[in-house]
């Protein structure tokens, strides 16, 4: 089973000067748990903000989300994996860097994102298929 079959291809981007409140609003509107923060300078690479970051690094510390910029919260660099990589490769990168999602990249472009839940689903599907290999 290819990683691309289970990744989410809809990636939501936000500008670095947006506030964390904008980030939360977008997460709620789009029912997503992470956003890619665009970098003004491509060499720096994009960053990522997850719901976990918002909760632990902003809300739990009593910081006003409307007073904090997205690029101040974003984690860098993004962890990328080739789209031909397997589920096991993806899991290894997640474990090695202790991250819950990695981005599937193709020639410097983000093609999708794979989260822990996607990995769990993929493994359950593989079990259900009982090793049957189709086209």
């Amino acid at each position: 089973m290819k990683l691309t079959e289970f990744m989410t291809t809809k990636i939501e981007y936000i500008d670095p000067d947006a506030t964390v409140y904008d980030v939360v609003e977008r997460m709620v509107d789009r029912r997503i748990r992470s956003l890619v923060v665009r970098s003004p300078n491509e060499k720096d690479g994009h960053g990522v903000i997850t719901a976990r970051d918002v909760v632990f690094k902003v809300l739990a510390k009593g910081i006003d989300p409307s007073q904090m910029r997205a690029d101040e919260l974003a984690s860098k660099p993004l962890f990328c994996i080739d789209e031909e990589a397997s589920l096991v490769d993806a899991l290894e990168v997640m474990e090695q860097h202790n991250v819950a999602r990695i981005f599937v990249c193709q020639g410097g472009h983000i093609a999708g994102v794979v989260a822990m839940m996607d990995i769990m689903w993929a493994v359950l599907i593989l079990r259900a298929r009982g090793g049957h290999v189709f086209r």
């Binding site: 079959e5 029912r31 689903w121 259900a128 049957h132 189709f134």
Partner: protein, 209 residues
């Protein structure tokens, strides 16, 4: 008790179970062709789906006739026929989707996600076929049903994004908009029908205990 073992001695029962497998195999083939047709944008491929649906209708009639000609115990017959009808409903929806695709181009901004849904529909059909095989062997269907539910959830998530993106597309006239809406509805509704069919396989499995 294994469904397959229980009935394997009867020639009619054997015939029915084999044709039911053919019916699902044909559905997998039709889904694969439709996926290919979306990827390649080759509308000639979309025209093959209605031909396959007609072939599936022939198989369905044959199965129902054989069942009511004496295959299986009477209490099982309605459930078997219901399962075949549910698979046929998947065919109908796939055919409607393919027919719309012949007349309505999918906007570039929706194409990628539509292809993903078509591929997931194909994977669901394949898993339905595996589940059917497992039912004949009397295996536990719990894991297989969970797999199907996961696929269905994945498609539901994509559907939400597709509907949101669709509303931002400008259309030339009412009919272009309506056809696009129906295309998305049908394409994302196929998984619900496959799930209904898989639920009915469970009913058949339980009724054998």
């Amino acid at each position: 008790m294994s469904f397959g073992k229980f009935f394997s001695r009867g020639r009619k029962e054997q015939q029915v179970t084999e044709r039911m497998a053919d019916h699902i195999d044909l559905l997998c083939e039709a889904c694969a062709i439709f996926h290919q047709c979306l990827v390649s944008e080759d509308r000639r491929l979309a025209r093959k789906v209605p031909d396959m649906e007609r072939e599936a209708d022939v198989i369905r009639r044959e199965i129902v006739s054989t069942i009511y000609a004496g295959a299986f115990l009477p209490y099982l017959r309605p459930d078997l026929c219901r399962f075949v009808s549910l698979v046929d409903e998947v065919f109908d929806l796939l055919q409607e989707t393919a027919n719309i695709f012949v007349y309505r181009t999918v906007p570039e901004s929706l194409k990628g996600e539509c292809i993903r849904v078509a591929l997931l529909n194909l994977r669901m059909c394949e898993l339905l076929r595996i589940t059917y095989g497992a039912m004949l062997e009397g295996a536990d269907l719990k894991e297989k049903k969970l797999g199907l539910r996961i696929y269905e959830k994945k498609i539901d998530d994509i559907k939400y994004g597709l509907l949101r993106d669709m509303m931002e597309i400008e259309v030339d006239n009412f009919w272009q908009g309506r056809l696009l809406g129906e295309f998305i509805d049908n394409l994302t509704g196929i998984s619900d029908k496959i799930e209904d069919a898989s639920d009915h396989l469970d009913v058949l499995n339980v009724s054998m205990r």
